[in-house]
Symmetry: C2
Subunit: 145 residues, 2 copies
DNA sequence: CTAGGTGCAAAAGGTTTGCGGTTAA
DNA sequence: TTAACCGCAAACCTTTTGCACCTAG
């Protein structure tokens, strides 16, 4: 990231945090940065390891805290794809996750603007949709044959 | 369940298990029975507690094992709705889950036969879809106002 | 008879919590 | 200045594993 992008990035993140009543901290900046560096839906543990490379003193609890703050201020989505750890992605567009049950890789696929009309329980107030498609990616499907 | 239904139920379960190479055991029967008794998407812990009422010696590990077997032979679906424990439902029709983030209640909604054409990653071999809608149920939405 | 399943207990993995010290606003 | 946040460590909850005994096929 060049110095100009950098400044821009910091201001936007700071504003977003402030709007939701959170403070801007170097740890939150680092955690968000990690998520943007590689859009591979890392787990909290992954984020912890990557953040630690640049910020050796950061703790597990802080990473959990930071991810929570980022989710609450709408910069990051929490995704539950398998039994294991929660994963995170900074892609806030409506999209589905194609998840390979073999290698664990995740592919984002944008959803068409038109949604099919699905009946819904009376009075239910929708917050967000989560659409996951499980299966095998091209590589793993090939190897299995 | 009357004696006739009972026999029927047992034979079908036994066949399904056998087809996938599993043995028919009283524990698996009990666990499946628990899931059919109340279609409220219980967690493994819930299933354990309910099964224990009729079968006091059943263990946690066995409940996990039984649920796994039932999932593998296509009688039960595994659902991941929140951070917490995995939930299970014996409804094998294609359906979406409306999940109340306040009280945790789950509502099944059948999906229309026609699916919108969503683009998908090249070569991806789909196994199953998981569609969860998060929000507030009518009761909780009312209380929050 | 015997491979697979069960029960138990212990461990592993992920997440949350409590607390004293630090820092952004 | 001070409420919010951080790091640490311990607790907690869910799931997995190893092993001796048991049982369906």
């Amino acid at each position: 990231m060049n110095p100009v992008e950098n400044k821009q990035f910091e201001r936007e993140l700071g504003e977003r945090l402030a709007t939701s009543g959170f403070r801007f901290t170097s740890q939150r900046r680092q955690v968000y940065d990690v998520l943007l560096q590689k859009l591979d839906h890392p787990t909290t543990e992954d984020v912890f390891i990557r953040a630690k490379r640049k910020m050796p003193d950061i703790s597990h609890a802080t990473v959990y805290n930071c991810l929570d703050a980022l989710v609450q201020c709408g910069l990051v989505r929490k995704v539950q794809l398998e039994r294991g750890a929660t994963r995170f992605c900074p892609n806030m567009e409506e999209h589905a996750h194609y998840y390979c049950d073999e290698c664990g890789e995740v592919f984002d696929v944008s959803l068409p603007a038109e949604r099919p009309s699905v009946p819904q329980p009376r009075g239910f107030k929708v917050d967000h949709y989560e659409i996951a498609v499980h299966g095998l990616c091209a590589d793993c499907a090939g190897k299995k044959k």
